[in-house]
């Protein structure tokens, strides 16, 4: 399982009600059901991923996050999750507002575009970074709204979003450096938020 998914479980209450936005093949939702006995729904638009969720016996609902969460009532979930999908949305800030309306708490993970490799790539080659984690060209990438950790912190301040926890995880190198200079050495951010 992806390292950010593994960390998320610590912030999920036993038996809580979960909404997972862009749930992919349902790995995280299944894990949380098995380990935390959560009651959960996943939202997804990709047909193959929806099939994978159905194979796992999960509740998966076909829904485009860019059309909002207007069909879910205020505070109707304990936690609304969104892992590695923020950067693919047309209006990430509005979806974030919606997540905080629908959920008592939110957990968001996203890749750090301020990581030194991305900066080095851009600085030395003068071209948009392509890496193992983000293996797309600028024109075909689903990731259309990149941000750095610092950008996200500013967004939270501007929108009066309370950061309950913040954590930086690295899949590979820079395990020590990331704690000192997360915006330069952190690969993936995990934010635990409330309003």
């Amino acid at each position: 399982m992806r390292i950010d998914l593994n960390e998320i479980q610590h912030w999920i209450q036993q038996g809580s009600r979960i909404l997972d936005l862009g749930c992919g093949d349902g790995t995280l939702l299944k894990f949380l059901i098995d380990t935390k006995q959560v009651q959960g729904y996943g939202l997804e638009i990709d047909a193959a991923q929806i099939n994978a969720c159905i194979d796992k016996g999960l509740n998966v609902i076909e829904q485009n996050l860019d059309s909002g969460l207007g069909n879910f009532a205020d505070k109707s979930f304990d936690t609304v999750l969104m892992t590695q999908a923020l950067q693919t949305l047309h209006f990430p800030h509005l979806v974030l507002d919606e997540m905080l309306r629908v959920g008592k708490e939110c957990i968001v993970t996203f890749p750090n575009f301020g990581h030194w490799k991305a900066r080095y790539y851009l600085a030395t080659r003068g071209r948009m970074p392509v890496s193992d984690l983000l293996p797309y060209e600028w024109y075909n990438t689903p990731n259309i709204h990149f941000c750095t950790f610092n950008d996200f912190e500013v967004l939270c301040r501007e929108r009066n979003i309370k950061v309950i926890h913040r954590q930086v995880v690295n899949e590979q190198s820079g395990q020590t450096l990331k704690d000192f200079m997360p915006n330069l050495f952190g690969e993936t951010a995990i934010y635990h938020l409330s309003k």
């Binding site: 009600r17 729904y41 929806i50 969720c53 016996g57 999960l58 998966v60 609902i61 009532a73 109707s76």
Partner: protein, 380 residues
């Protein structure tokens, strides 16, 4: 029908009939003292009787959902694409029951049946039927077959309404509910189409206030127009354009020709209407469309479908089709939202299709995948 049955067909099937002698109190307040249900079964009921699946049919459906009645049949049952060995409703796993609802005209007690009290056909006097009456009669059929709990109940369109009613009225007797191209209630536009169809029927001089059988006639023209109206709404603009366009069946636009122009779509609709009018009963059509109009799952729950679904225990699969404007995806999303609000298990897929409402009957790769994978996960 080819000389050989396809390998994934349930094969040759024979309808069965059961006569019920305990009176059935209907929602309209009247009672059917006795009635018959005609049904077919596919696959084997297991020893634990835990693998039974009920198919609820839509407006023009019936008990012949899969397989062939004889080697001379031109076509198999109406949902053969989805019922059979290895198909989404896999008859290697499930024992499938498909019936004809009361009030219909394919063998179960309906307006063309003999009213035992008078010795004559019921005709216009046949009671008005609601979806809950069908479900109550289906529950009695389950009793006869020894099925306490259905592994799944499945239906499209009006059939989906029966599935939801089952989940509410018999929450302990249904484990999985598959609701396809359906709605919590009809919209005003939808009722309007039904009323136009009914008006076509009762305006036919041969309708005779519904007692056409006593008058030895049939309101075929009215019924054909009713079907034409319905059929237009089951297709999408795109599918109709792609299939027929402005192609001519006969005639020409050239000046000086006496031949009148007939578009392919006109000929097609007329054929659909006429063949339907030859096999369907006008009083049944009126009753079944009225049942559609009356259905409103949340009416008795303060008009709140969330409250309604709190009565249910089943797990739901809801499916809609992108170009279906008679039972639009939005209507299915209302079902899904209410189930989520009621904290019930639900999965939802919106299938990209160009076939409008008819898509729920037609083969489609993604539809078959979602449907089949979901049912593969149903324990028996």
């Amino acid at each position: 029908m080819p000389n050989q049955l396809p390998a994934d067909s349930v094969g040759l099937v024979t309808p069965q009939t059961h006569r019920f002698t305990a009176p059935l109190l209907l929602a309209c307040g009247r009672t059917l003292d006795e009635y018959e249900l005609v049904y077919e079964t596919y696959g084997q009921l297991n020893a634990a009787k835990s693998n039974a699946v009920l198919i609820c049919h839509a407006l023009s459906g019936h008990h012949h959902a899969a397989g062939y009645h004889s080697m001379d049949d031109k076509r198999p049952g109406w949902w053969d694409a989805y019922i059979g060995p290895g198909k989404p409703i896999d008859t290697n796993k499930f024992f499938v029951v498909a019936l004809n609802n009361i009030g219909g005209c394919h063998g179960s007690t309906g307006p063309r049946s003999i009213n035992p009290a008078t010795g004559k056909a019921w005709g216009a006097d046949f009671p008005m039927i609601r979806v809950r009456d069908w479900v109550a009669s289906q529950a009695r059929l389950a009793d006869v077959l020894g099925i306490d709990v259905w592994a799944a109940i499945i239906g499209g369109s009006l059939g989906g309404m029966q599935v939801m009613r089952w989940a509410l009225d018999y929450p302990e007797r249904i484990r999985h509910a598959v609701v396809i191209a359906s709605a919590l209630k009809l919209s005003a536009q939808n009722i309007a189409f039904n009323e136009a169809a009914r008006k076509a029927i009762i305006s036919d001089p041969n309708f005779c206030d519904g007692d056409y059988i006593a008058h030895n006639t049939l309101p075929k023209n009215g019924l054909a127009v009713a079907r034409m109206i319905g059929h237009i709404t089951y297709l999408s603009d795109f599918a109709m354009g792609e299939k027929f366009g402005r192609d001519l069946r006969s005639g020409s636009f050239e000046l000086g020709t006496a031949e009148p122009v007939e578009f392919q779509i006109e000929s097609y609709l007329r054929y659909q209407g006429d063949s339907f009018a030859n096999t369907f009963d006008a009083n049944s059509y009126i009753r079944i469309t009225k049942a559609l109009d009356y259905f409103d799952l949340a009416r008795e729950y303060g008009d709140d479908p969330v409250n309604a679904f709190k009565q249910t225990n089943a797990k739901f699969l809801v499916i809609s089709f992108s170009t279906d404007w008679r039972f639009a995806p939005e209507r299915s999303r209302e079902i899904v939202n209410a189930l989520v609000g009621a904290n019930r298990s639900v999965s939802y897929a919106e299938i990209e299709s160009k076939h409008g409402h008819d898509a729920f009957l037609l083969p489609d790769e993604r539809y078959q995948q979602v449907f089949g994978r979901y049912l593969a996960g149903v324990t028996i």
